[in-house]
Structure formats: C-alpha cells, structure tokens
Amino acid sequence: MRRFSWLVPTVYILFLMLPIYWLVSMSFKTTNEILGSFTLFPQSFTLDNYRVIFTDPTWYMGYVNSLIYVSINTVLSVCVALPAAYAFSRYRFLGDKHLFFWLLTNRMAPAAVFALPFFQLYSAIGIFDTHLAVALAHTLFNIPLAVWILEGFMSGVPKQLDETAYIDGYSFPSFFVRIFIPTIAAGIGVAAFFCFMFSWVELLLAKTLTAVAAKPIAATMTKTASSSGYELGLLAAAGTLTIIPGAIVIYFVRNYIAKGFALGRV
C-alpha cells in the first residue's frame, strides 16, 4: 500500500492547480476570448494585461502598498508576541489562562462586524489611509496567532536552557536575544509566515481603512471590476501576480515545516 501513497498528494496537488491554471491561462487571453467561447489554452496569446499593470502606477502601487503594510504587520506582531509567548510558556501569573483565551477571542471577532468601528477609530486618531492603520488593524488577529504558535515552540525548549544561562551570568535581555531567539528561529519563521499570510490575504479591513495613499492591490482589483466594465483578462493578470509574493515566502519557510514541529513537548 505504501508504494501507491504518492498518488494521494499527487491527485490533491492536481486538484489545487486546476483553478490556478485557469487563472493564469485567462491572464494571457483577451477579455473577448474569455467571454466569447470556451478555450482550454489561450488562442490569441497576449501579454497586454501584464503590460498595463506594470506601466500604470494605480496598479503597481497596489502591490507596493500591500507589501509595506504586510511587512510592518509581520514585524510588529512577531516582536510583541515574542516576550508574551515567553511569559506564557515559562511563568504562572495572575489571570494567565484567562488572558490567553481573551487573546484568542480576538481572532474570533468577525471582520465584517469590526470594519465600521475600526474606520471611526482610525479616522479619529488621524491615521486613516496610512499603511500603519492597516498593519495595526491586522495585529488584532495576527498577534494572538503569533503568541499561540511561539508559545508552542517555546514550551518544547527545556527550561534547563534558561537556568544554565542565568547561572553563566546572562541577564534576561541578553539571554533572550543571544541564546533563546536563535534556539527558536524555526518558530519565528513559522509565526512570521502565518502573519504574512493572513495579512496578505485579508481584504475587508484593508479596504475599509484606506482610500488612495495606502490602497492594497486587492482593493484596486475590486474597484476595477466595478468601474471599467468587466476586464477579466486584466483582473486575471493582477490575480496571478498576487500569488507570487506568497510563493516566495513559502519557499523560504518550507524547511521549517519539513523539519517538523509539534508545538509542545515531544
């Protein structure tokens, strides 16, 4: 049976690739061809859709804006989550379990519910339509996740490591930065991957909190869909390009996943 087990992932990957193939093949078709008939391969192969995106700043700045707020969010979430996860994995303190669950509840808050209040809050403090606004809003669901993942990795590291370091004369900050962080580098990689992923794919809050200056690519796409008719080829090209940053990120963290983690003691 083991000999045929490669079939399962192969079939699954084929299933995953079909819609992606359809998107990529549409991006090389003209809108007329897409709407006119069913063609398995592009008949009149064109690169026009990509040319529009790379020459029009309203298009390519969307990618830049998205990348900026996603990066701010990832760095911010991981940096504040690190000490908190350490506290949860090493110490018992007043209300720790309640606090941990309260953090998780913020992931449960439906973005559809919070979009409007967020808009009012961020307008009131004057950061509406900045990259910082989106990055801050996304910390609501990314920080709890980062704390959760990092806590898992940290509780897999034996406490003797900390104690030996203190005996050797390390202070807490220097132990944390010079010994502990390198030890859980894989955890930081995985947490950063998830923060990047959830911030990159989110649209509702990102769209609500921006107008022009920090407009994400996904919002540019929805605006185009409604304003200039239905330029399917162009949208497909823009969609195809949104896959690339994610593919690069997963390429860099694949080894952390391949090496395995149990998020706790093994």
């Binding site: 087990s5 490669w6 399962v8 699954y12 995953l16 690739m17 819609p19 992606i20 359809w22 998107l23 897409i34 989550a81 000490p83 908190a84 350490y86 506290a87 949860f88 090493r90 110490y91 303190f93 720790d96 606090l99 669950f101 998780l104 509840t105 992931r107 449960m108 439906p110 559809a112 519910v113 919070f114 209040p117 967020f118 009012q120 801050l136 920080i143 704390v147 993942i149 898992g152 406490k159 995985v190 992923m197 794919v201 509702l204 996904a218 796409m221 869909a225 497909a236 969609g239 896959i243 994610g246 990120v249 997963i250 694949r254 996943i257 391949a258 395995g260 149990a262 998020l263 706790g264």
Partner: protein, 289 residues
Amino acid sequence: MNKTENQKAWFLVLPVLVLVAFNAIVPLMTVVNYSVQETFGNNVFFWSGISWFEDVLRSPRFHAALGRQLTFTFTILAIEVPLGVLIALAMPRKGIWVSVCLVLMAMPLLIPWNVVGAMWNIFALPEIGLLGNALNALGFDYNYTRQPGDAWFTLILMDVWHWTSLVVLLAYAGLVSIPDAYYQAAKIDGASSWAIFRFIQLPKMKRVLTIAILLRFMDSFNIYTEPSVLTGGGPGNSTTLLSIDLVKIALGQFDLGPAAAMSLVYFLVVLLMSWIFYTVMTRDDEANQ
C-alpha cells in the same frame, strides 16, 4: 513543564495587551453602543435598551443564517480535517519532493480572498469556466448561479480547495517531529498501521491539530469575502452566511442598531463554541501538568 509563579511576567505580556486592547476594546464598545440605541439618521440616537437583542433572537432570518452557517462550518470541518490528515500521512518524508509538495500545497493559502472568490466564480461558470464546462459535458445539469444545491457544492469545494492545505501543513509538521524511536518500538511490538496512527501519530499531532481545527472553525465562522464574491449569498438567500447577512443589514439597509445587536449575538456564539472546543481539546494538557 513546571512553570514558576512570577507576577512580573505581566511586564512581558504588556505590549501585546496594550496593542490588542486598543484594537479590540474601543471598536467592541462602539458596537455595544450602537446595539442599545435607535437612530433615525442625522446622528440622533435614542436609548432603546435590549429591544434589538430580543428582535434578533426571535428573528427567523437570523435563525436561518445561523443554521446555514453551522451547516457550512461543520461540513467543511468534517471534510478538511480528515482529508488534511490523510494527505499529510501519505506525503513523502524526505528528499526534494517534500519541498515541491509543501510549496505547491501552500499556494491557495497565499492568494488574497477576493481573488480566490473571483477565480472560482469564473472557474465554475457553466459555459466559459473549466469546472462548469466539464461538469456539464459529463452530463450534470450544473449551474451554480441558478440552483442552490450547485451553489452549496461550489462553495464547499472552494473552501476545501482553499483551506485543506492549512490542515496538511500543520499535521505534516506534527508528524515529522515524531522521533524514529517511536516507530521502531512499534515495529518491535508488531503494531498495525492503525495502532501506530491511533496511539503514536494522533497523540503527537494533538497540539498542531488543535490549532488547525480551532483556526478553521473560527475563520470559517467569520468567512465573508470568498462567498460574497462567489455567489453574493445567492441564488436567493441560499448561501447567505452570517457575515454576509450582517453586512447586508448594516450597509445595505443601514440599520446600525439591529446590525450591532446581531454582531454581538454572533460574536457570543463564536466565543461560546470556541471556548467549548478549546476547553475540550486542551483538557488533557492541563491534566499532564
């Protein structure tokens, strides 16, 4: 692990607390504020007590949306979790194919949600889409914009396509972390592959699967962008999940009071169910400490 009692640990948690509280509490209070008031526009508000909550709890529309939401969430959990574990078990453990599998499988996770919705919208169109065209060519009468059953099928297939990989990645990471010694011991004992799965692999994957299941539960309950782009809740109301209904009420009809009351009820439902999941799944952990 034995944890030390240390109240100073609060200082380490403080940055997270401040950031999340800023983001969570002010907007939540805004919603609570709307939920107990009546407005006739022009920013004039009247106190209306808990009447909106009574309306929501009695409204057949809310019950219907909640029912659809529960059906959706439990269907996708029942498909994605076993399927994800199965694929993770069948994946290679060493060599170049591991990287190829991981990178390709992670791709759907990294596509913006509106692109996922738009992509499936066209992919499933009966005439010009690959899926719709293929199904019709095979003799099925498939049209997801007209038939509620087809719309549900498309919606669930899209979610399985989109999110099974999350379960696969986490389950796979858990599986790989199991030391070889466990398998050797099992081999000596002559354990069947089911016994290995039940008594070695499943317990060792518990923490990662807890995260996978809870994430899928919470995120599928809050799903908005993909179904709203794919079907817009239609045909009729057949795929109007909770978030879509909420946005229809809040922005479409601009009924802030009822929408806010509904949001809170909705939030409490997610909270309660997540709490049950969380307690059940982490109970053994506590017992071990």
